[in-house]
């Protein structure tokens, strides 16, 4: 490291560059500190980016990236003309839409309700309880769901057969897959989602409430004219962030809950890449699918950033 820097200093003779090198030398500790992290990013993030070239090859593990045959856009053409493409697009899109419509508002509503509780002991206990599932793994959540929802012994089905006289096949019925996924997300993450809204609510100026009371505003008018405007920018920025990650429905969760019976509605881009790539060994084809998803993802994120700036927020980056 030292050696390389000395040589480089000798090599440059322009005074401006020289002072830059002097500054680097003076603060060599900073560079030494940043080095391990930098190596991490180059090795584990940028080398795989280079590995994307196999999407344009017929990659064979024996020949390696250097010697495999180039096929251009063949894998993309195959994917776009494949009925799988529309199925994946549809499943991903519908799950994202469900997430936006059902899950997104849930933490806002829950934090507004928590905010109305004046008993601080009760409020704190509730908060501690609803945060806990966030720290559980998807495997735990999925396992508990299996135990509860399975037919022939699951708690929910035992109760259902007592109440309506029949069981519902939640785990393997395509009709129940999406509600089950959204239900799990709500159970796991709604409580945690309130953290940011409760913080925004805590920073609302109490005088505004007092002024509103003097003006004769009832509870719901105060909610409408004081509380909700205070949450506006947090809601907008989170909504835009969510739009930017529209294609990213929880991969682990969907993988865990999908099976051969509900696959028609459960397959999304990420799980497809796993099944076709890792388990079936179609490396090049599944890399092409992954690349397609990444590019659409970037377009969505950049678009969301523009949108954020347009509505007067400071944007994402």
């Amino acid at each position: 490291m030292e050696n390389v820097q000395e040589q480089s200093v000798k090599a440059v003779d322009q005074p401006r560059k020289k002072s830059k090198w002097n500054q680097i030398l003076k603060e060599k500790w900073l560079y030494l500190m940043v080095l391990p992290g930098l190596i991490y990013f180059i090795l584990f993030k940028y080398v795989p980016m280079w590995g994307i070239v196999i999407a344009f090859q017929d990659y064979s593990p024996f020949l390696g990236v250097w010697n495999s045959e180039w096929v251009g856009f063949e894998h993309f053409q195959y994917f776009f003309s494949n009925p799988d493409f529309f199925r994946l697009l549809r499943n991903t899109f519908i799950l994202a839409l469900y997430d936006l419509v059902f899950f997104f508002p849930a933490p806002i509503i829950l934090s507004l309700m928590l905010n109305e509780i004046r008993l601080s002991f009760y409020k704190r206990t509730l908060q501690t309880l609803v945060y806990v599932p966030h720290f559980m793994s998807w495997v735990i959540i999925a396992s508990v769901s299996y135990v509860f929802l399975t037919t022939g012994g699951g708690v929910v089905n035992e109760l259902l057969s007592g109440l309506i006289g029949k069981e519902v096949n939640f785990l393997s019925s395509p009709d129940w897959f999406r509600p089950m996924i959204i239900g799990q997300i709500m159970w796991k993450e709604t409580g945690w989602g309130t953290v940011i809204f409760l913080a925004a609510l805590a920073s609302v100026d109490q005088e505004q409430y007092e002024a509103a009371i003097v003006d004769g505003a009832g509870r719901f008018r105060r909610l409408w004219h004081v509380t909700l405007p205070a949450l506006r920018s947090t809601i907008v920025i989170l909504l835009i962030l969510r739009l930017g990650n529209f294609l990213d429905t929880g991969f682990q969760q969907i993988y865990l809950m999908s099976n051969s019976l509900n696959r028609s509605v459960a397959d999304v881009f990420d799980t497809y890449v796993y099944f076709v790539g890792i388990t079936e060994g179609a490396f090049s084809y599944s890399t092409a699918v992954g690349l397609f998803k990444s590019i659409v993802g970037i377009v969505l994120i950049v678009g969301a950033d523009r949108l954020a700036k347009k509505v007067g927020e400071s944007g994402l980056f």
Binding site: I24, W29, M33, V34, Y40, P48, M113, L126, L129, Y209
Partner: protein
Amino acid sequence: MHRMHNTGPGRVFDIFNHIFLAIVGIVTVVPFLYVVGGSFATESEIASRSFFIIPNEITTNAYDYIFSTNAVLRSLGVSILVTVIGTLISMILTLTMAYPLSRKNMVGRNLILNLILFSMLFSGGMIPTYLLVKSLGLLDSIWALILPLAINPFNLIIVKTFFQQLPEELEDASKIDGCTEFQTFWRVMLPLSKPVIATFTLFYAVFYWNDFFQALLYLTDTSKWPIQLLLQQLVMVANTGLGDLQEASLYEPPEESVKLAVIVVATVPILLFYPFLQKHFAKGVMLGSVKG
């Protein structure tokens, strides 16, 4: 506080609100209570009673069984090892990288920040990463569970932002006292960062403890499976029993209480962590909402 108009519709709302939130709280924890209760119940009680939290007859049979097998103890050991080593490596890498990047006078800082930002937007994806891990010879090694995800870029940016807002006079003062950059970082900045360190230690530890997918991707050797992957195979993959995963050929499909006991064992360590760090993480999450 604004406690007027506490009659009429407001009062009805209060009552409704308290009841609704109590139900939310109960719905959140009842499944866990059932799992814990069931893990101490006899097989016949689970089969005959549809729902209970405290079993009529308490037995530790399920725990006796799972701790008599190699599979559970061994995978708990793997999980503990991965969590401890992984969290340590992640925290060291994150802190040492975040600090230089928080210094505005560092030459090349923007280049590195853009490199990080771009890696958050675009990635090689699952297959190229898998091929990299394979060519590094990390398949079937617990390092494959740690190294590929050692730095979480979001955490890194938040820690950087935290260092950035510490007063500049501090580093000037320590420089005058003759500290090197590293000494400034070690003796001045780190002691001021305790809440951040606590928060991200928790986040990284939870991440490593909870991961099953890295293991599913990179480990075929069942003796290196972490507890989450063992649990997944046990509950979700048909016809896998603990017996399958032991050297001993004694095949015995997992019974209900055994599954429940493994769920408990995979959850409890995180719950033990939680109260110690809970007071810190609310603060840490607030930092998260500060834009980098």
